[in-house]
């Protein structure tokens, strides 16, 4: 079964009851949208697919009033500032009065395809797809890096492979704008992110240390998992805390892939997943150059 861009993981589902919106009422609010169809409802938002007369296939997100509007504003800003062709575009935004209060809505470009999570549940990626995944996500992250934005939640759930085999990065919902004041409390023991993907400096909330290299770590883990269908930081864990400890204490076993006898792919995955950010490539741009070089040498069409 396919999923659509805009589907989000339910990271805050425990915080608030699911948003209960009457679909007929919603259609009245958006008369320009056709074929409005509920895709998923979570604690933070309800997501619909629809068609728009000029934008075509779109996703409509209705944000729960309990969600911090500033965080939503920043998510929109992040996507707009990055202006990356590997990230679904935001086509519109606004507010609605509902029976549960004022809700924000966002209309996005809809990407038809499969979540990377679904893809790797069927089996690991081969060399070409792995390199393509790496390059496409690095391109997205490099655009974010240029405008000082750290995604902070790269993981298979937030990646879509479209019907043409291109990879898209989703969900800038917890992106950090390095030029803006952080929304996470400085004294919070843990930062935002997903255990088993976020690097030590991010989940330890060491804000001074967080830059684009945090995304390299999460991307490295995502690539590792895509190549092996296994995330060793999460494998067999009792709870998220154990995944956090694993990230700090356990080194990823070196990747050994049949199509990577020279260890080039293993090399950059190891580099990206270094526990100290200073041991990772200095920037996303540098990492992108590195992986593009490998892809080009290996004749992989990106």
């Amino acid at each position: 079964m396919g999923v659509e861009a805009g589907e989000t993981h339910d990271r805050d589902a425990h915080r608030s009851p699911a948003l209960n919106i009457d679909d007929a009422w919603l259609s009245q609010q958006f008369p320009e949208l056709g074929s409005l169809k509920r895709l998923v409802t979570g604690g933070q938002k309800s997501v619909y697919t629809a068609t728009h007369p000029s934008d075509g296939e779109v996703v409509l997100k209705i944000i729960h009033p309990s969600e911090d509007p500033e965080r939503v504003r920043r998510e929109i800003l992040a996507v707009q500032k990055a202006a990356c062709p590997r990230v679904p575009r935001i086509l519109g935004e606004g507010k609605l009065q509902s029976n549960v209060g004022e809700v924000l809505w966002v209309r996005e470009q809809r990407i038809s395809g499969e979540s990377l999570r679904v893809v790797i549940q069927k089996g690991p990626l081969g060399k070409d797809e792995l390199l393509r995944l790496a390059v496409h996500l690095l391109e997205a992250l490099a655009d974010a890096e240029k405008v000082h934005i750290v995604h902070r939640d790269v993981k298979p759930e937030n990646v879509i492979r479209d019907l043409g085999g291109r990879f898209w990065l989703l969900d800038f919902g917890i992106a950090r704008h390095l030029d803006l004041t952080s929304l996470t409390g400085s004294h919070a023991p843990f930062g935002v992110g997903t255990a088993g993907y976020a690097p030590p400096e991010q989940f330890r909330n060491r804000k001074r240390d967080i830059d684009a290299r945090a995304d390299l770590f999460a991307l490295g883990v995502t690539l590792y998992e895509s190549a092996t269908c296994k995330n060793p930081f999460r494998d067999g864990i009792r709870d998220n805390l154990q995944a956090l400890h694993n990230v700090e204490r356990v080194a990823l076993p070196p990747l050994q892939l049949p199509f990577d006898s020279a260890g080039e792919i293993a090399g950059f995955v190891t580099a990206f997943t270094q526990k100290r950010h200073n041991h990772r490539p200095l920037s996303i741009a540098e990492a992108l150059d590195w992986v593009r070089d490998i892809a080009m040498r290996q004749g992989v069409v990106i």
Binding site: R276, H279, P281
Partner: protein, 401 residues
Amino acid sequence: MQLYLQFGFGMMEHSVHLLTAWGGGTVILSPRDLEPFQVQSFAARVLKVKNSQILFDPQFYLPHADHARLTKHSYWPKQYDTGIFWSGPGLEELLTKLLDLNRTIGCQRFILPGLLAESINDDWLNQQRAVIDTGAKMTSGFPRLITLALGADTVRNQDQIHELLDTATDWNAEGFYVVCEHANGKYLVDDPSWITNVLDLLAGLRLLGKEVILGYCTHQFLIANLSKASAIASGTWMNLRSFPPEKFSAAYNEDIKQKAVWYYCPQALSEYKIPSLDLAYSQGLLPAMAPPPSLGSNYAMGLFGGTQPTTVGLDEPSAFRHYLQCLHSQVGLLAYPSFDEAVAGEERRLDTARQLLTQLQRAGVLGQLRDFSQVLDSNLAAIRAHSNTRGHQMRRRWTSL
């Protein structure tokens, strides 16, 4: 990587002699070991040697310490009070005088003064920042090297090294002059974490595209090549091959008279007192200790002429020149085309040393505190750890650094 001469007591003639033999090089001047009137004349002598340069290390590591000769130099503050110096005109005066001195004596790069960091804390970072920013304002067009003088505990602490690296990213200068107090005060450092952290720091700075000079080195730091250090610096006496901060204080006892003559066996990476060579001689092992001709040192060849070494002897100047000549040649052989080949080269060097040291130790030929066998595994451990953490970056950037 290049070898610079770390100037110290009694090194004037050695420096000029060796630079002449090498066709040029760089000497890092030490005001602690030069009277003010000697600085300019010695600099001029060095600069007369073709292709030679000088750097001036202001040795402002412990400004409170009142080392008698350091305080004679005109740039040294007449009175140093931390609060007044850092909040008033003291720093600017110091930098102005140092800049004049650097220009007068013909330095092509300006080593900015830096305090010894017993830990990387806000005070030290703020003082570094003040030096760097003030230096940048005053020295437009004159390349600057930032001094990183680090205490042993600082170097041992990986968190501190990374805090330093994080902060140094946007420091405005062309390079760094790094001096590290040896762990446990040992001449050869047997703490693999300490060694690894030095390599890590050097690599991190080099990857920023900066020039990096590691001062006060023994041959143990030939491995700095794995971090693509621009240069290591070494000298004659032990206290020029390690960085004991106390030697910049008034109470330091030079105690030169009791120092013995040591022969450096480059293939064993170890040094031996001459009587130890007699044991090697009597058991037929001495030829294996002779310096390979490729290193170009004839200074100690008398020891290998077929007679008992103590009857020939080795004078101190020749021992020093032999050490520095061998080290210079060893550094010259480090131009590997890739990181992996450099690692393999270092491991080969250690293997060769281990084999010879095993033979020598069986024969009772021991280098005491200068016997590399005590640090072989530490160096090897550091190479492996460095390869694991920095290898991927160094591999990719090797030819561009």
